[in-house]
Symmetry: C2
Subunit: 190 residues, 2 copies
């Protein structure tokens, strides 16, 4: 299975493609960043990012697009652009009939480090280690996109939607995931 | 000049087309609502709305698309979907090289009622009056989309970007507009 991870952002949108291999192994296919100029109007910026996402979808032909779930209470100065780019990525996938999965930052952290509260550096270090890379992918948005793709491939059975969920004992990773999911679903105030 | 007003929303997205006529008169061309089902996944919902926006752009061929400017501190439960639909509308216009204008709710109220603090009913009443309609367009999202289009056509010179701005005495409407703009630009906390 091939997953395109999208770390949405209007200035830098991380894009990372990962293939699953037998034995829960994962392999880097492509990583990069779509950029737009802060000097342009927002509609031109959205178009620039959308055109790059279209190119990646057409070239990489992923089976799933994994997008970071954006919350309204995140960084107020950038959250509108982030939400809009997440929307463009979902739309581009839907137009191609490619399934979309949304994962919260806590779920991504839990999937690649075992803890939903890991810091960014820890996530990036683990992304490099999991993919067997000599260096951490730069910029951080690119590494985060890869983390999203890995998260989707490694999501524990307990994190699937209820009808697909198998009744089974939870592993340590599943418990970390469930805790992260629970925290993400708790109502918060902006 | 023909303007498509877009009142973004994931459940109901208002769409209204208005033509300008000589003497600051305006004429209703089309009004409606793009809907998506709350039972669908968000990517399918975004696709449903985007396809309707594409149809309206291709059929109505507006000269400008006027979209409500969404703020992060608005209704937290719906703001992400609203921002994403605003992004889709901007993208659809940008793909067709149609200019996009963003107007704040206060600017729209000031343009159609003379006060940036008018309530929704007042805005809807004025939309019907301005367009010579016997009844207020329903649902409210449709009326709000028409108000956005009228707002764009009636925006006072003082509201244009600085290089285009003419040095002239402000009318009452321009002062109301400037006050609304000022209020909208004031930094707020979420």
């Amino acid at each position: 299975m091939r997953v395109l991870g999208v770390d949405p952002g209007l200035t830098r949108c991380g894009l990372g493609v990962v293939d699953s291999l037998p034995g829960r192994r994962v392999q880097l296919v492509a990583v990069g960043v779509a950029r737009s100029s802060i000097d342009d109007d927002v509609d031109r910026r959205l178009l620039a990012i959308a055109e790059r996402i279209d190119e990646w979808l057409d070239e990489q032909m992923p089976d799933v697009v994994a997008v970071e779930r954006v919350f309204a209470q995140h960084n107020l100065s950038t959250v509108m652009g982030t939400a809009q780019v997440a929307g463009l990525a979902m739309l581009a996938a839907a137009r191609r009939r490619i399934p979309v999965a949304l994962h919260t930052p806590s779920e991504v952290k839990a999937a690649v480090t075992g803890s939903g509260r890991a810091d960014k550096a820890q996530v990036q270090t683990m992304v490099a280690r999991i993919l067997g890379l000599a260096e951490v992918p730069r910029p951080a948005d690119a590494a985060d996109a890869l983390a999203l793709a890995i998260c989707h491939l490694w999501r524990p059975a307990g994190a699937l939607a209820a009808p697909q969920r198998e009744l089974q004992a939870m592993t340590v990773a599943q418990r970390a995931w469930a805790a992260a999911e629970h925290a993400a679903r708790r109502p918060t105030r902006g």
